[in-house]
Amino acid sequence: MRIAVQSEAFDMGAEANRFAAAVQGAGAIVTFTGIVRDSASGDLDVMEIEHYPGMTERALTTIATEAMARWSLADCLVIHRYGRLRATDPIMMVATASRHRAAAFAAAEFLMDYLKSRAPFWKKEITRQGADWVAARDEDEAALKRW
């Protein structure tokens, strides 16, 4: 299990390969990667991600530890960036490994649902029009109810 909260860019493919190479006995690997989308008006200059150092690592560790236990994962990985990003940059990724696919999929979705609404990150879109904090989506909070 690895949790990384970092301002540096990461290489999604290289991280996926490194994760897969270290796993023992898994038959299924799922990755999710979140990418900075352009703003609605197509003029995103910067996506700024703020976080709460200390609490972020705690929250992610709690969520990942629960996923490991609940789905008997062979391994799991969470990487999340903060700082200034641009459209098409990867923001974050999770990876899960398990014997069969159902557990790897469920655990990856669980990690994403909890990370979205329980890990202290906030996104701000900076465009030519100005700067706007991204609003939380009701459906993200609602997604937690399924677990």
């Binding site: 979140g34 991600i49 703020e50 976080h51 709460y52 200390g54 609490m55 705690r58 929250a59 999340h80 923001i91 974050m92 994403m112 990370l115 979205k116 609404s117 329980r118 890990a119 202290p120 990150f121 906030w122 996104k123 701000k124 904090w133 991204v134 609003a135 939380a136 993200d140 909070e141």
Partner: protein, 82 residues
């Protein structure tokens, strides 16, 4: 003495990322009332609690949670990571 941290637009409205406060507030709600009485910018930041979240010593908590023994309180909007 308690550390109070602000993030995202809460930080921007209040105008600082953290401060150390001498308080005898018993709960988070009491602390919010105390801060809001201080200055308009606090009252504005805390005007709609449904759009706020609070963490006590880096764990999410409710607004009626007691502050006894707490060293760090953080206020912020709903998270938008991922």
């Amino acid at each position: 003495m308690i550390d109070v941290l602000y993030f995202a637009w809460v930080r921007e409205r209040i105008g600082l990322p953290r401060e150390r406060i001498e308080t005898s507030a018993a709960t988070v709600n009491d602390l919010i009332a105390e801060l809001s009485a201080r200055e308009e910018r606090y009252a504005l930041a805390f005007s709609d609690l449904s759009s706020l979240r609070v963490a006590l010593d880096q764990e999410l908590a409710d607004f009626d949670a007691p502050l006894a023994g707490v060293r760090e309180v953080a206020f912020f909007p709903p998270m938008t990571g991922g």
